[in-house]
């Protein structure tokens, strides 16, 4: 259901202000969403003054700097720092993206950092993605083939392989799904752009033998047709993929097949 306002326990209160200790002339204010499960307080926005003269170029570098030099209690996910693992997906400057590939020079004014939108917060910038993972499991993202002979390659033509371009690159960072208003309001039932792009990836795979069953399973008023082409997903994707187009292709297949 559409619920514009945040619940009472999620209302954001004013947080702490960490003044710069280095005496640097090149300072930027960074506002970070904080919530500590052990205190029982409402979430707050802490403001850090960060010395930009000694900070590398990406938003993740700022967070690392805060954690290492200012406030070690800050919690966030990160791993590869090269846009491959999708761990550091968060909302920066009002848009979802990967902190490790987003240059802070692109952000004007103060830098606002929030967790991915409309998720249950586990701590600080860490949101709970278990619903999304369950939905991903529900589309059975693995190859279904009756071929028993393992001694030979499962050959695919160059044209068939090309159909997977723009789909297989997805790293499941959830930037798209959590940017989608439809997914905010119907996240329990609507599969969301990330999972639907994956569903399409298996539907168009020429080696997969259950295309029809897959299509039938996804053809549902709530699972698929909650997509109203708002295009927030494609706008947010840090890998420049196009989930909106993938969803449209599924809809088209259902009409034409």
């Amino acid at each position: 259901m559409v619920q514009i306002n945040l619940p009472q326990n999620s209302k954001i209160i004013k947080g702490k202000y960490y003044k710069d200790q280095t005496g640097s002339k090149n300072i930027r204010k960074v506002n970070v969403y904080r919530w500590n499960p052990s205190t029982g307080e409402n979430p707050r926005i802490d403001t850090y003054e960060v010395d930009m003269d000694n900070c590398p170029s990406k938003v993740l570098d700022i967070l690392n700097k805060i954690k290492n030099e200012i406030d070690p209690s800050l919690a966030y996910r990160r791993s590869c720092s090269h846009g491959v693992c999708g761990s550091c997906a968060m909302n920066m400057d009002g848009k979802n993206g990967l902190a490790c590939t987003k240059p802070h020079s692109e952000i004007k004014g103060d830098i606002n950092i929030y967790p991915l939108p409309h998720l249950k917060v586990l701590k600080d910038l860490i949101g709970d993605l278990s619903t999304l993972y369950k939905q991903y499991e529900s589309i059975e993202p693995w190859l279904k083939s009756s071929k028993k002979d393992d001694s030979k390659e499962n050959i695919q033509s160059i044209e068939d392989r090309e159909k997977l371009d723009g789909l297989y690159e997805c790293i499941m960072c959830a930037c798209c799904s959590t940017s989608c208003p439809s997914y905010w309001w119907n996240g329990e039932k609507y599969l969301g752009p990330a999972v639907l792009l994956q569903a399409y990836r298996w539907i168009v795979d020429s080696r997969d033998e259950e295309k029809k069953e897959r299509l039938k399973k996804v053809a549902d008023e709530l699972k698929l047709y909650r997509c109203h082409t708002i295009m927030n997903c494609t706008n947010a994707c840090p890998k420049d993929l196009n989930p909106a187009k993938a969803i449209a292709e599924i809809k088209k297949m259902l009409v034409t097949s």
């Binding site: 954001i12 909302n91 009002g94 939108p117 409309h118 998720l119 586990l122 109203h228 708002i230 088209k252």
Partner: protein, 127 residues
């Protein structure tokens, strides 16, 4: 999941862009159009009540508020039509490229005002 975990902010912090603006306007104008169509039907039905009634409504439509409502109606329908055409192209699988969707979104917004002026001017027989 424990219930005391807060919900991260969503619409409060997410940036608007052309496609999301056109999308929400498409919905709002859709609802408005249903109401407007009903009112237009009632207006036509009220003609059965005779000349005085016709004059009464005509006077209202000639007033400033009446004109505002007429222009608003024309805009609402113009926007809905153009946005729906954009959706039809999407349904055929075209126009999903980010740049193209941005341009078509802008065309819908600008076009709705151009169409409003055209329909109003032609309807009033000014040209």
């Amino acid at each position: 999941m424990k219930d005391n975990n807060p919900l991260s902010p969503h619409i409060q912090i997410y940036n608007w862009h052309i496609s999301s603006l056109v999308s929400i306007s498409h919905r709002i104008t859709g609802v408005i159009n249903i109401v407007l169509l009903t009112i237009i039907c009632l207006w036509i039905a009220s003609l059965l009540l005779g000349k005085t009634n016709y004059g009464l409504i005509q006077n209202f439509l000639d007033s400033f508020l009446g004109k505002f409502i007429i222009i608003g109606t024309v805009w609402s329908f113009s926007f809905q039509i153009l946005s729906e055409i954009r959706h039809l192209f999407w349904d055929m699988g075209y126009g999903f490229d980010l740049k193209i969707s941005k341009i078509t979104g802008l065309l819908v917004i600008i076009g709705s005002f151009v169409l409003t002026i055209l329909i109003y001017v032609i309807g009033r027989q000014i040209i």
